[in-house]
């Protein structure tokens, strides 16, 4: 392995870890703030460090501090397998985290004639990995529920288990149909396949090529992550908090984080498989690299305008109502951020100018394109996470029997049908 390969591997691994872990507080914040805004509330907006609130993200860090510092408390009836009780949340967390690690964040970079994957775990069987590792997570939930010695926890874990079994099948069949379509089990290849177009004008994204498969995939992944409307395994209205009932402090936090990591993973998988991954629509990696100057100019033009709008929006909204007496910290924060944003914009513009003006910097351009793709990926990821969140605050929770009914009676036959049709088409068309 060359040095470049090692550097790229380390960078992509770190990137994956960061994307998975740093996303947790942000997602928590997004969930709360999103819920608040959907419900005509403000959500967390008070916690600050030296007056910097970052729109409330700081609250999440405060939460983390709180959860870490909380007293480790065990219910007295959990006396026998305390170590296991403490251990099992991490099974869920680690499984979700590992499953995330096969997602490609950008197209392969060619450095020194060697094609390198921008993928934390550079494997070519990403889909299978995701399916295999993703299935482990439920073991943690079931063990935790059982070891809680609590009827609600038990019910929660039973529900989680049966739901996992119920939705793993349609999920697998949907993925198989995608595998047939893309003719690969490598995520990267899948993304590459999607960079083309179908019917001449539509981006060849999975959602357009395989709409039914895509919907089944999305629904099944919602179910797999125990997110609303499928959150029956913790259904507060019936079984307190399901498998998490007896969990407190950091043990609870690991379950909690596991859920967000799983959500993040699910989003990443959905993006990668049906929304073109890190690709811009219509524009493949090669196009980006070859027409780099044009894109750079476009970005140079769009970015300042976008930032300007953002600054104005921020200044407007990062303040208390006029009727409320303010201590000025919010205005100060907005001012600081305005300068920071302007500075960052200027730096980006400068870099782009440099890249445009130096035609020899092929490597730099490749890196820039990769960064752009990562940015696109993160942007899509955030969008899809937001979608997850908005769904949660829109739809009511299904009843448990409805969930099972949906899984077995609709999704499974539909996915089989989809597989069948896909196979016929693929074989027929060639």
């Amino acid at each position: 392995m060359t040095t470049g390969a090692i550097v790229v591997a380390i960078i992509s691994f770190v990137l994956g870890a960061l994307l998975a872990l740093m996303m947790i507080p942000i997602l928590v914040w997004l969930e709360r703030r999103g819920a608040g805004l959907v419900q005509d509330r403000l959500g967390p907006n008070r916690t600050n460090i030296f007056g910097f609130r970052l729109g409330g993200v700081v609250q999440s860090f405060a939460d983390v501090v709180k959860l870490v510092l909380k007293e480790e408390y065990y219910p007295s009836h959990i006396s026998k397998h305390r170590w296991l009780f403490m251990l099992v949340p991490s099974i869920t967390f680690v499984a979700a985290l590992l499953a995330f690690m096969v997602i490609p964040f950008a197209d392969n970079v060619v450095i020194g004639g060697e094609s390198l994957r921008i993928q934390p775990l550079p494997v070519d069987f990403g889909v299978l990995w995701f399916m295999a590792i993703g299935a482990i997570g439920v073991v943690g939930i079931m063990l935790g529920g059982w070891l809680s010695h609590n009827k609600y926890a038990l019910m929660g874990s039973t529900r989680a288990g049966s739901m996992m079994i119920g939705y793993e099948l349609p999920l697998g069949l949907a993925i198989v149909s995608f595998i047939i379509t893309y003719n690969t089990i490598d995520f990267n290849a899948m993304v590459a396949w999607q960079s083309g177009t179908v019917l001449g004008f539509l981006p060849a994204w999975g959602i357009l090529v395989q709409p039914l498969g895509a919907i089944i995939l999305i629904v099944a992944l919602f179910a797999e992550t125990n997110r609303n409307p499928f959150s029956v395994s913790e259904g507060e209205s019936e079984i307190v908090a399901g498998y998490m009932t007896e969990y407190t402090a950091m043990k609870f936090a690991i379950y909690f984080m596991g859920e967000y990591v799983a959500m993040n993973t699910a989003s990443a998988v959905i993006i990668t498989m049906v929304f073109g991954g890190y690709q811009l629509p219509w524009v493949g990696t090669v196009d980006l690299v070859t027409h780099f100057n044009a894109f750079a100019l476009a970005i140079m033009a769009v970015l300042p305008i976008g930032i300007l709008f953002f600054i104005r929006w921020m200044q407007k909204n990062n303040s208390l109502r006029p009727s409320v007496r303010s201590d000025g910290s919010r205005e100060y924060e907005a001012k600081v951020f305005t300068y920071v944003l302007i500075a960052m914009t200027l730096i980006v513009e400068a870099i782009l100018i440099y890249l445009i003006l130096s035609p020899e910097a092929f490597l730099s351009r490749t890196i820039a394109v990769t960064l752009l793709q990562i940015a696109i990926f993160v942007f899509k990821l955030m969008l899809f996470n937001l979608f997850f969140i908005l769904v949660r605050w829109t739809l009511p929770r299904f009843r448990y029997d409805q969930v099972q009914h949906l899984g077995w009676y609709y999704l499974l036959p539909l996915s089989l049908l989809n597989l069948f049709v896909t196979a016929i088409i693929v074989v027929g068309v060639g």
Partner: protein, 174 residues
């Protein structure tokens, strides 16, 4: 009364309802509408900026902090019958009864304390009181203390609270 009954049509029988997707779309539309509007101008949200803005619309039926009422002659109206303590689902009312010496009644509380940390503000005590001696009409909705003991309101504190809606004296017993 019968005219006020609103018959809600049953959904879910036709294919459109069974598909759920239109309903989901409608739901998402509402969600997005609120989200976008609020993102665009978060100051338009009518949520109270609480510590700076105080609620001004507390109604008479709002169950605020408790108070003990007085009789016409400023003596305590409570006769320590323990009805509130009996009705209390949180068992947060602590009463010690003692002989009343002023001749107005036989019994009065020596100690009457409410542990507001345990209180669930259900208002059962008010309902249970045969003497109209305890009310929750102070309009006080936040109580701040630095120790657990601060939240145990004693008789004197409860008597010192004023009703937020007038009608100071207890009317049940003279």
């Amino acid at each position: 009364m019968s005219r006020k009954i609103k018959v809600v049509p049953r959904y879910g029988s036709n294919i459109k309802d069974k598909l759920y997707l239109p309903a989901i779309y409608q739901g998402m539309k509402v969600t997005f509408k609120h989200l976008m509007a609020n993102v665009a101008d978060s100051n338009a949200i009518e949520t109270l900026e609480y510590p700076e803005e105080q609620p001004s619309d507390i109604t008479q039926r709002y169950r605020g902090l408790h108070r003990l009422t007085h009789r016409e002659d400023e003596s305590i109206a409570c006769v320590a019958c323990f009805m509130c303590a009996t009705a209390c689902p949180a068992r947060c009312i602590f009463i010690e009864a003692v002989e009343r010496e002023d001749g107005r009644d036989e019994k009065m509380p020596k100690r009457f304390a409410i542990d507001t940390l345990e209180c669930v503000f259900c208002g059962y005590c008010v309902e249970a009181c045969p003497c109209d001696a305890i009310r929750m009409d102070t309009g006080i909705f936040s109580l701040i203390g630095s120790s657990r003991e601060d939240f145990v309101l004693e008789k004197e504190q409860l008597l010192a609270h004023k009703g937020a809606f007038g009608e100071e004296k207890s009317c049940a017993r003279k």
